[in-house]
Symmetry: C2
């Protein structure tokens, strides 16, 4: 018998163990308080335990329930935690789809390592999610309750999360972790705004120099809990003033980075070149989250906006640093075409206004007559997500097959 180190088990969704709930939960109605709570999960959840000595355990789908966490767990003290935001879409063709799930898997793997939590074979994540959706899907005499087949356009929000849940009060890298995945009915923010009759779009409050979200050499590029809690105070102050998100600026020149839970874009006419540009902050400074929707926006725009697209003039797509001063100048000079944010929660949402100190930069009025880029991108993305308009087999859509009962 040798003394070789044991092989650590990889994350492997093919060995998943299923325990079905015998006590199904109520499905909240769209717009109900339960749905607006953002916290009413589906009947099941995925959990996978990891230990430093054995690696990843067998994944489980089991009834949704509270977690039993030791008061000494490192996730409660040292923020050893990270997550992903994803959605599962009920398509026009009746199929369930994820949108580029491997990009989320890869980012969660990276975030987990950045928080000293375990990495994993990221392509497994989509299979774990697929299993969860299959189990929360149809079974004998019970149709899909959470995303009915006959209700295309509905979606659930998915929250894959990794936490350090070992009993470990000493400051050290976690020796135990838990990957879990929950699914939540989520209100559609764009629908809500439209119903209220308000002009559709977000109001952003530019951050002040005394509050900084991220810093070079920090962790603003990873989806860590540590990026959120400390920024909630500024977010809460912005909301109390009637704003939707903080527009986070950085540095003495007040570079634009991201808008809270979303990436930020402007379409403007470049002052020097006269060219129309779609601009967003670059990734290389590691200050912003590399959004999956952001990346998709840039890829679609580079492909389709190089030439005239319907009534839309060509735009050059640039990832480059720009400042709030640049925005204000362009706005005063009438060079802003439109502005929007992208993200899983907000999808593609226009920006109506940015308040920077005493100046209200009214972007909807500025670009209202020329806008259309964001709407066009949104329409392309929706076609892929919901399997319609000829995009049923687009490579960015990952179809979740119905479970075969056995």
């Amino acid at each position: 018998m040798g003394s070789a180190a044991p092989t650590l088990a990889e994350l492997d969704a093919s060995y998943i163990k299923v325990t079905r709930s015998t006590n199904l939960r109520d499905v909240p109605l769209p717009g109900s308080p339960e749905e607006l709570s953002h916290s009413h999960c589906t009947d099941h959840m995925v959990t996978v335990r990891w230990t430093a000595s054995n690696g990843w355990d067998t994944p489980e789908v089991k009834p949704f329930a509270n977690l039993s966490i030791p008061p000494t767990a490192s996730c409660l003290h040292y923020a050893t935690e990270c997550f992903e935001g994803m959605k599962v879409y009920r398509g026009q063709d009746g199929k369930l789809r994820l949108f580029r799930p491997d990009l989320n898997g890869e980012r969660l793997d990276g975030s987990s390592k950045r928080a000293s939590l375990p990495g994993f074979r990221f392509a497994e994540l989509k299979h774990l999610i697929a299993k969860l959706m299959q189990i929360d899907g149809p079974r004998m005499n019970i149709p899909y309750r959470w995303l009915p087949k006959d209700q295309p356009g509905r979606f659930l929000y998915l929250r894959p999360t990794v936490i350090g849940n070992g009993t470990q009060l000493g400051v050290q890298t976690p020796k135990e972790a838990l990957l879990f995945i929950i699914a939540v009915p989520w209100p559609d923010p764009s629908k809500k705004k439209q119903e209220e009759g308000a002009p559709h779009g977000l109001k952003l409050l530019a951050s002040q120099p005394d509050t900084i979200r991220a810093w070079p050499g920090g962790f603003g590029y990873a989806k860590l809990g540590a990026n959120y809690g400390p920024s909630l105070a500024a977010h809460g102050r912005a909301q109390a003033l009637g704003f939707d998100q903080v527009l986070w600026l950085f540095g003495e020149d007040r570079k634009v980075t991201e808008a809270g839970a979303s990436n930020f874009f402007i379409v403007w006419d470049n002052k020097e070149t006269g060219k129309r540009e779609l601009i967003t902050a670059p990734l290389d400074s590691q200050l912003i989250l590399p959004g999956v929707t952001r990346r998709s926006v840039l890829e679609l725009a580079r492909t389709h906006f190089a030439q005239p697209c319907g009534k839309l003039a060509p735009v050059e797509v640039v990832e480059r640093e720009f400042t709030i001063g640049d925005i204000e100048e362009a706005w005063k000079e009438g060079r802003i075409v439109e502005s929007f944010v992208s993200g899983t929660a907000f999808f593609i949402t226009p920006v109506k206004l940015i308040r920077n100190g005493n100046v209200d930069i009214d972007l909807l009025t500025a670009g209202a007559e020329r806008a259309g880029y964001a709407a066009q991108i949104k329409s392309w993305l929706e076609a892929i997500m919901y399997g319609k308009d000829g995009q049923e087999n687009h490579k960015w859509g990952f179809v979740i097959e119905d479970e075969i009962e056995n």
Copy 2:
């Protein structure tokens, strides 16, 4: 019946509810694996629930147990969490003491607000801890098991913690929270090092410019979980290289900030003035944790080191920015007298060596013959903590009275 907003209840330790454990836990022996786990808690814990609608509930002392936390809890996703590190000391006079507990209470109140968690009347914290220690103390036929009366010099580590435990997946300020306090037998790191026969002192690895702990406008001054998780990777790399802690530098000039879980001090002879100085990083840049031990070190040094103290020459106490380059220069010029860190976990521990890139700054050799300031300060602090050498009634010691059975 008016519609006035309900008064939110304050945190009030006088109404504490006690549920005694009927299943007492084993007390780990000093040096045992259980003690070295830093996670084997005492028989009881304190919990206090808070809600945005009602404020603080009645505090409870109850048997130590895992927490039941919803998978959607904000502490698991958004790092809405903060904590304190404290100790309870068994004195030479048989009494239990806390050391300046109101400073910890005040800091936890501040950290909690910085994480968008609730504030509280900070002076209550020491009374909650006192109740926990009384319940884990003697009762009929059972002597103090965790800190025996006849074993002066023993201590427990205390971990007051506030987490956002409400079901709240939306990014917003927490509407529910839990304050809990646990007590843990903790190995005495200074004893361990001495037993190993190694020269007593820490080895610090200076951080590289691509990894920073905190930044201006951030939250490095608050004891948030978010300051720890993201720094564990660098800490783990330092430990793998045989170092105890990272010495965190900041900025292009590489200013010295703090040493992981402790504040950092140097005694040196100032190049310009020729005066001997005790120097540490200032608080006003908000990059470092305002340590209770740090503050006590500075106060004692200002009081006692202004004039010659025994064999020790006078030192001027300064809180001022200084760089790793300044340390290296002083070391090369033989101006370093000694260096040490302070903190609850490390107490007062000499620094043996700092590695900065290719340079090993050997501080123990540099200052070995002249050192003595840290040892003197440590001795004063110990007298207060353990109620000896005439310091039994020092105002910094908070005595926990034995519970009167009723």
